[in-house]
């Protein structure tokens, strides 16, 4: 017997966001491209719910997770990068093609692919930007040199 979680998915077009609305009244808003847009989307959502007849109050808005993608203009030798960056870097080619690099101080995680593409997740936009700045020198020194 499984407990079916009571939640509703609601998608707005402008701004383009998807909101998960829980029966307790908590709302998780995802898909926005900036922190302000997320807040506007959440506010618009609250107003839509008001118009639908629910008693809503917009409180405790907080950005909890930011996902960013960037591209390095060079390819990266992953085994060499892992060797130079233990213990923060973890590379298991049998499980996942990217190196997982964690920065504890920023609470950010970076996934570094051999093509130079990097995916960063962190608690806010500033932490994510700092994480990319911090990783650049390490990634640069393990880049693919022309033979």
């Amino acid at each position: 017997m499984y407990f079916f979680f009571q939640k509703v998915l609601m998608k707005l077009r402008k701004p383009r966001i998807t909101a998960t609305i829980w029966s307790s009244g908590k709302i998780i808003c995802t898909g926005a491209t900036s922190e302000e847009e997320a807040k506007f989307g959440a506010r618009r959502l609250a107003r839509s719910l008001q118009k639908l007849g629910f008693q809503v109050i917009f409180t405790d808005f907080k950005v909890v997770n930011v996902l960013a993608v960037c591209n390095m203009p060079f390819e990266i030798r992953l085994p060499e990068f892992t060797k130079n960056n233990r213990p923060h870097a973890s590379y298991e080619p049998e499980l996942h093609p990217a190196v997982c690099y964690r920065i504890k101080s920023l609470r950010a995680t970076l996934q570094i692919f051999s093509t130079g593409s990097i995916t960063v997740t962190g608690p806010n936009v500033k932490a994510v930007a700092t994480a990319v700045e911090q990783i650049y020198p390490f990634v640069f020194e393990s880049r693919k040199e022309i033979l």
């Binding site: 203009p73 051999s114 033979l147």
Partner: protein
């Protein structure tokens, strides 16, 4: 001796608290008269101190080695013996298992997870001693599923704070190739397919190194690459007899499983070899294709370092472009060669054209559209038509409920596997 109480029979003050079995009684020690007696039955709230404590909450757990842990430790030793590991590995793996077991998250985990934990401890031990053991082998031995294994492995590495070295490719090649049944004649295998172990090993190793240099190994599972390399090495050692043999037949002869990605790795490796062959003057005239290049693998491998440098520096037309244009060391990069129109826009690679990870050589499936810069404030008017979009019509509500009920019925009575 409670003060103030007197026996109603003899008047003595010597009253003793005694228990008759589980019933507490106040008894006169002179005449034996029962003054008061406790209730035989107690309520739940009365029994606070007498209630059973679950074993998982008691401290007994920490003092003894539980049966489940003993079973796990036995499994660790059995697995080490099956894999024929040295005895020092056994002790290290057992120590890891014990350390892991002290964490409450592991102690309370399901039996499946503890089973997989056995494999994780053995794998960590092997990695630390540079013993080439793949996760696939362990999962097959434990009948475990790779997802569960990977989750437990990452968890345990984090929990124990271990630094696990990467899988050593050269050792893996040696171990894996040694397991091929090609080195002795057998009734099922014709003599022309039999091969000398040392020659095949050295050539496979060279091919795997070549693959590593040209981005075919990074980020991918190592075993399919090694299979493809071994196949090419075996074919090239006696091409006249073996060119007609396919990869699948080779694996059957060698009595190993054919990993699914091995065929695409084989194609990628052949493409690299063809590029290299174009640089050798005496091979250029032969106009090689994927089959005929196999005959010349020995020559190509002999000069592989120079050939890679040359093959991937020049454009596909073979014209040597000026050095400044090609060396994209952090400076402005030009598109190299005319075959690079497939490269995704916005990504200026540093490696010369074609010496790129294979995924970058293929054209992107669809271009990700940049979202238009929208000036949204959140205070815009919400029209009634927009609200209508969010509400379901009664017909939709009925359909949805019907669909949900059908889904619940389907999942609640699954067929046993």
């Amino acid at each position: 001796m409670p003060g103030g109480g007197r026996c109603p029979d003899c008047g003595s003050a010597e009253l003793v608290e005694d228990a008759h079995y589980s019933q507490s009684q106040l008894v006169c020690s002179d005449c034996g008269c029962v003054v008061t007696e406790g209730v035989l039955t107690t309520t739940f709230s009365d029994e606070v101190n007498l209630r059973e404590v679950a074993y998982s909450r008691s401290t007994g757990e920490n003092e003894q080695v539980s049966r489940s842990q003993q079973r796990g430790l036995r499994r660790v030793r059995d697995l080490c013996r099956v894999l024929q590991l040295p005895s020092t590995f056994e002790d290290t793996a057992v120590a890891y298992y014990q350390k892991a077991y002290q964490h409450p998250g592991i102690r309370a985990a399901r039996v499946q997870k503890k089973e997989v934990l056995v494999g994780c401890c053995v794998l960590i031990t092997c990695r630390q001693h540079n013993w080439p053991l793949t996760m696939g082998t362990i999962c097959t031995l434990l009948y475990a599923d790779l997802d569960m294994f990977s989750g437990t492995y990452m968890q345990i590495v984090k929990l124990l704070g271990l630094d696990v070295p990467s899988l050593c490719l050269a050792d893996l090649v040696k171990t894996y190739c040694s397991s091929f049944k090609l080195f002795q004649a057998s009734p099922s295998m014709p003599a022309k397919f039999m091969e000398d172990k040392e020659k095949m090993l050295s050539r496979t190793l060279q091919l795997v190194e070549l693959a590593d240099e040209t981005w075919l190994v990074t980020g991918r599972h190592p075993l399919p690459v090694i299979t493809a390399a071994a196949f090419l090495a075996w074919q090239s050692l006696q091409p006249s007899a073996r060119l007609t043999c396919s990869l699948a037949r080779f694996c059957k002869l060698a009595n190993v499983d054919l990993p699914y990605p091995a065929s695409s790795r084989l194609q990628e490796l052949l493409a690299v070899l063809l590029r290299m062959a174009e640089q050798l003057a005496w091979l250029q005239v032969l106009k090689l294709d994927k089959r005929s290049v196999v005959k010349h693998i020995s020559d190509l491998l002999q000069h592989r370092h120079t050939l890679i440098r040359k093959a991937f520096r020049e454009g596909p037309s073979g014209v040597e472009a000026p050095a400044e244009e090609l060396w994209g060391r952090g400076q402005g990069q030009e598109e190299v060669g005319n075959g690079s129109s497939d490269l995704p826009k916005g990504k200026r690679p540093a490696s010369p054209a074609l010496l790129l990870p294979p995924c970058m050589l293929k054209p992107p499936k669809r271009v990700c559209p940049t979202p238009p810069a929208s000036t949204v404030t959140g205070d815009e008017d919400i029209s009634d038509s927009e609200i209508e979009q969010y509400l379901r019509t009664p017909q939709e509500v009925r359909d949805f409920q019907r669909a949900q009920a059908a889904k619940r019925a389907a999942t609640s009575s699954p067929n046993p596997p």
